[in-house]
């Protein structure tokens, strides 16, 4: 057993740099609390894990099936609010509220799909954009039940300590990403969904002509998208222990899109890379701001320009969205496919004959020794 595992590691992982990087990344995540005991990093990666589930579910729904959903926060917010309301009115604990609110998010996904079936392209995007904003308006106006703009606070925590919460979210993230990766794997011989999602995106009429019930698969995509986005929303609520209308905001929807497109759309790993680079970047810049505040610059005339620079840097670190925006523009101008896909193309090469991935250092394919040039 162990020997077979070692062998598959030696022949399946070591020669493919992308897989090696993925394994190193997950080993790092699972041993993080051993490496550092600073609360800051543990909390940062807890949120990054939750948002990864959210971003990857957007990639599955919008990237793979091409149903550009601009209101993905709907599923996130519906699950977040149902968790909070279930606790507030029924006194349920997280282990009960999370599954039920995920179910509610799935139902929401299916319901969203019915009007969405009639539309495509920018029309679909505008339709889906409207739903979370409408719900946010309703939530704010029903302030007796939902707390209005202040939301609902003092919810029960997911688990006692930060490290426990971190591991719950990390395991949920790993399992969700694995499931979604398998579901969208177009080369799989057991699961056909991946291939069908690609077919729907590329040409829906052709897919229908080949005997695929596209309506059923679109419903499936919306249900899966709702499921995982809902899971992220419910986990998020019980980690920050409060919920507010910001979970239904435009920013929430667009964050997912920015992460996915930054990392690389239509590739599950791109979404993971996007979140795990951009989210810590935003968090760390706030921390950098705290460090700069700690420094005291003497107020002699010589240092006056320095103080001006300090003010500007502090302003930047307080609003990390500027840094994020600039990074996103630069990335999209120079690598419109996304960062992770761009890097993968640099470090991996596909054999033209047998379609096996090889490391960039090889001149010949490792299986069929065809030339890679």
């Amino acid at each position: 057993m162990l020997r077979r595992l070692l062998k598959s590691f030696q022949y399946g992982v070591l020669p493919v740099p992308g897989r090696l990087l993925a394994i190193i990344f997950f080993v790092f995540l699972f041993t993080l609390p051993l490496i550092t005991d600073q609360r800051f990093y543990v909390i940062m990666f807890t949120f990054a894990s939750i948002f990864t589930i959210f971003a990857v579910s957007w990639d599955l729904l919008s990237g793979y099936t091409g149903q550009l959903n601009f209101g993905h926060a709907l599923f996130f917010g519906v699950a977040a609010y149902s968790s909070a309301l279930l606790y507030k009115y029924l006194g349920w604990q997280p282990w009960a509220t999370i599954p039920l609110s995920v179910l509610i998010a799935v139902v929401t996904g299916v319901l969203t799909c019915f009007p969405a079936l009639r539309l495509r392209g920018p029309y679909l995007s505008l339709l889906t954009l409207a739903f979370p904003l409408m719900l946010a308006g309703v939530v704010v106006s029903l302030r007796e039940y939902t707390g209005g703009e202040n939301g609902i606070a003092a919810l029960p925590a997911l688990a006692g300590s930060e490290v426990q919460r971190y591991y719950i979210c990390l395991i949920a993230m790993t399992v969700s990403v694995l499931i979604m990766w398998k579901l969208t794997d177009a080369g799989s011989s057991n699961i056909r969904t991946g291939l069908i999602f690609h077919a729907i995106r590329e040409d829906e009429i052709a897919a229908r002509a080949s005997g695929i019930n596209t309506v059923r698969y679109k419903l499936l995509a919306f249900a899966i998208g709702g499921l995982f986005a809902g899971l992220a929303g419910a986990l998020f609520t019980h980690v920050i222990q409060s919920v507010g209308p910001s979970s239904l905001s435009l920013t929430m929807s667009f964050q997912a899109i920015i992460w996915v497109i930054f990392g690389g759309i239509v590739s599950i790993y791109g979404a993971v890379v996007g979140v795990f680079i951009l989210y810590p970047l935003m968090d760390l810049s706030t921390r950098l701001g705290d460090i700069i505040r700690g420094l005291s610059i003497p107020s002699t005339p010589f240092f006056v320009p320095l103080i001006k620079i300090e003010h500007f840097v502090l302003f930047l670190t307080d609003r990390p969205i500027i840094i994020l925006s600039v990074v996103v523009i630069v990335i999209l101008l120079f690598m419109p496919e996304g960062l992770a896909v761009w890097i993968r193309d640099k470090i991996e090469r596909e054999c033209p004959r047998c379609k096996l991935t090889n490391g960039f250092w090889r001149k010949e394919c490792r299986a069929c020794s065809a030339s890679l040039h």
Binding site: L68, L119, L126, A130, I258, I322, L332
Partner: protein, 290 residues
């Protein structure tokens, strides 16, 4: 009360129409959803504020400077950033959102977050049917109407307008007729931004300026454009007044309606999309149908 509702609906409708025409124009010609559209509107409002309050220019000079500078900025942004990713629909959306975020942050850094007032061009008010209407509001309606008529004349009567409409209908055939698509796109973007700038200049004295002022109009403009039909100028104008009226009625008639205006106009958009996906006056291309 009906008179108040109608007055505000007409004033807001004029501003919305200017914004919606620009948004619709660039979508129709380039199939480009420009989320930074109301960002230019915000920049224009701040430009007017900066020129009149900080530099101390006269009103006419301030308006001229604002129109020229912001429109040029829009064209430069299009030429050097948006044009490069025009083929990737999702990338355009993300980049324009990122642009508007940068604009907001830059204004926040320079001016701070509070609402600032801008002096009216003309003071005083008139009484019409028992409603006190500011002269500035009358001016707004007049200028908006003038700008809309000029755009319509430009699009229907001039050679440039015909070229723009030809590119919108079929860029390839327009290219075969000797129309340079990239030049037309640049001109259309300039026109679209200029309309947003006029709207910003008109709104600034009425409601003041603040760095978050791009958000709510963006949603409204998207609703209007969908209602009227993406890419249809006539639809945008009519849609703007319908939505402005619905908004005012919602906030006057429904208790707690101030929070619900957004929900109600979005609901209107959803119904239109489901019943008639092309909007009231829009045309859908064959490849966009399902």
């Amino acid at each position: 009360m009906a008179a108040i509702v109608i007055t505000y609906a007409v004033v807001n409708g004029g501003i919305y129409a200017l914004l919606a025409i620009g948004f619709s124009l660039i979508f129709g010609v380039a199939r480009l959803v420009n989320m930074a559209h109301t960002g230019f509107f915000m920049l224009a409002a701040f430009g007017l504020f900066y020129c009149t309050k900080k530099i101390g220019l006269g009103y006419i000079e301030a308006i001229a400077v604002t129109i020229v500078v912001v429109t040029l900025l829009g064209i430069l942004v299009y030429r050097f950033i948006i044009d490069r990713v025009r083929e990737h629909h999702a990338a355009v959306l993300i980049i324009t959102i990122a642009l508007v975020m940068i604009m907001e942050s830059a204004l926040l850094w320079r001016f701070g977050g509070e609402t600032r007032g801008v002096p009216s061009l003309i003071g005083g008010y008139v009484d019409i049917a028992g409603v006190r209407i500011l002269n500035q509001q009358l001016l707004t309606v007049g200028v908006a109407a003038l700008a809309i008529i000029m755009v319509l004349l430009l699009l229907t009567k001039t050679k440039l307008g015909i070229a723009i409409r030809a590119t919108a209908q079929d860029a390839e055939i327009a290219g075969l007729m000797g129309i340079s698509a990239s030049r037309i796109l640049l001109v259309t973007m300039g026109l679209s931004v200029a309309l947003a700038v006029v709207a910003g200049i008109l709104l600034a004295p009425l409601e003041g300026v603040r760095p978050g002022m791009w958000g709510a109009p963006l949603v409204t403009v998207m609703v209007i454009v969908t209602l009227g039909g993406l890419g249809s100028i006539k639809g945008s104008i009519i849609g703007a007044f319908i939505i402005a009226l619905v908004e005012q009625m919602a906030s006057f008639l429904i208790p707690n309606g101030g929070y619900l205006t957004g929900t109600i106009i979005l609901l209107a958009m959803v119904i239109v999309l489901i019943v008639r996906p092309a909007g009231l006056f829009g045309t859908m291309f064959e490849e966009e149908k399902l």
